[in-house]
Symmetry: C2
DNA sequence: ATGAAAGCGCTAACAT
DNA sequence: ATGTTAGCGCTTTCAT
């Protein structure tokens, strides 16, 4: 195939035009020290006049770096994509990366074939590191990347003994404090709508939920637990099922912002008043959902900090050549807004 | 910075191990014809044993192609991201590209700085072509890419005389047939919730809406038009405003699936029955929304075909070196499901 | 401070 | 059918 872009000036032509060596031009475009101010300007003018743009393939080859990192979504059905959580994370990663001069590229891995393709792409040196979102328990991609010694950082972990570098939040603690909060306010029939059962984050939050109940001397009933998948629709469905089984429910811990929104809709339709009859706590509470269905209490995840931490870990791994894994667990915070 | 991955075997080492020349190895990894089956296997064994992976930077440099295309979102506030339409398009692009062996990478351009960064990235040869989604009227990125002679295909156009290659649908016709359909069923007070006013797609659909009314001898009132931004929330808000101004509304044309969903929610809350009191038609109707709020009639966009067409145009431009622009306008289809 | 030169790992054209 | 060779455009010593 004849994919090519002819007529692109090279560094050599710039050097010729500026009457300097190629090394000097290289130093100029990389802002390296040790170039006389006057020559720097001469070179810069030549660059402008020729409309020179560095060839990144050549730079990669010579410099052995890609100046790009991939953010991979392995979500098999990626309705997750639509989560405000997801876009907030992407935003914060973009911000954190913008200082480093690296490009962030999103990649979707929906099948084994795509997983393989991405692996070749990454091992081929097109990215310097990989960030992974929403990893499910059995996902082999982190291991494949680790084996290839590619700097890799997960958002969340696949299990309690995850080794690959990750940034996670204290999900057990977050869930526990949310449920404890409800119990202190006198709620007794507290249900929970979880995320996908094969995600560690789900298990952690469930444990927090159960621990809080146990602390209060209550024993969690299996029928007060409904599985969702972080979407609004799953929140609606799960809430409806819970109400059918337990009309007496007076508190709910939801897996996410959007799940909580779905649950609230169903509660409203069923004529329940919120929070008078039923209090709902979810993880995070984004502006859009707030406008629709304001809640008073949420478990807040420090999304900005999560993005920054992921980038920091990745840079550290890149720096030293992926010889060690690092783990960061950030605190969640129970956020209570006073009703107005 | 010490970003590097040492110990990666090269093609040369593979050649040595297999006892062949580098050319032969190159032919094998590229599945080129003209290699004896026995040597091919010898080489393949050497590749396996060494765990060889081609260096893509070197390949790019020598072959002058990146084997990757970027899908760029320029949406300044990218709640669009959450649209099923968006994920469907990405899916169809992924499918269409998977045959070509090219990587699809999503890129977000949220600011001028990011626009510039992406431009350097693309001009630097990291992608062979660029796909652009949801371009607003004044977006300069398509022109910048065109000037750099980068194969580029837009989804939708910035105006009626767009020149850069694009794939669009017949928005005027789609909107017109939807409104005509409503008129034929006896509706008279038909409102519309549009997309952002600075998008050509919005103007086209509005024109279709007005044309249908004019054909029926009605004159469209300005107050029957409300601006949204494709989101569910904007659908709710706009519908509420419309109902306030025109309680007699008996038909609505919505900008999208999600906008329609929002409008339907508001209608339900207001005690209106759908479609007995008010009929709602939107562009597209995705499974998720269907479950929540089934509608009977939609304007269907051929999303699969749109993705395929975009990839085809891009490949053609790449083939010939971006010497011509191509435009494709796909038909929309009014889809009437019989109520059950 | 700057120029010259040696690669980086691959593809493709040219030999054989 | 396969080996050889000349780049691709840049970064990075090493001289000067």
């Amino acid at each position: 195939m004849g994919r090519r872009r002819p007529g692109t000036p090279t560094l050599e032509e710039v050097a010729a035009r500026a009457g300097v060596g190629r090394g000097t031009v290289s130093r100029v475009i990389n802002n390296a020290a040790g170039v006389k101010e006057s020559t720097r300007r001469t070179v810069q003018r030549a660059i402008e006049e020729l409309g020179y743009v560095p060839n990144l393939a050549a730079r990669s080859l010579a410099g052995r770096r890609a100046d790009a990192v991939a953010l991979v979504m392995t979500e098999p059905d990626w309705r997750q994509f639509a989560e405000p959580f997801f876009s907030e994370i992407v935003s914060s990663l973009g911000d954190a990366l913008s200082d480093t001069g690296m490009q962030l590229m999103l990649t979707l891995v929906r099948s084994d074939a795509e997983r393989q393709r991405f692996l070749e792409y990454a091992r081929g040196g097109r990215v310097d590191g990989v960030l992974l979102m929403s990893v499910h328990a059995g996902d082999p991609l982190p291991d494949m990347l680790a084996e290839a010694r590619l700097p890799t950082v997960l958002l969340g972990r696949r299990s309690g003994d995850e080794y690959v570098s990750y940034v996670d939040v204290d999900n057990v603690g977050g869930a526990r404090s949310a449920v404890s909060h409800l119990l202190e306010r006198g709620r007794r029939a507290i249900a929970t709508i979880t995320g996908p059962a094969d995600m560690y984050v789900t298990q952690c939050r469930l444990r927090g939920y159960q621990e809080a109940l146990a602390l209060a001397g209550l024993e969690g009933e299996q029928t007060l637990v409904a599985e969702g998948d972080f979407t609004t629709e799953s929140g609606r469905r799960a809430m409806a099922a819970l109400l059918r089984r337990h009309p007496e429910i007076d508190g709910v811990l939801a897996a996410s912002d959007t799940t909580a929104a779905g649950a609230l809709e169903t509660l409203h339709s069923a004529g329940r008043r919120v929070p008078e009859d039923v209090a709902v706590i979810g993880f995070d509470d984004f502006p859009l959902a707030q406008r629709t269905t304001p809640r008073l209490t949420t478990v807040r995840q420090p999304i900005e900090a999560m993005g920054r931490a992921m980038v920091r870990l990745l840079l550290e791994e890149m720096e030293e050549g992926a010889v060690a894994w690092r783990h960061v667990i950030l605190r969640t915070e129970l956020m209570v807004r006073e009703s107005t």
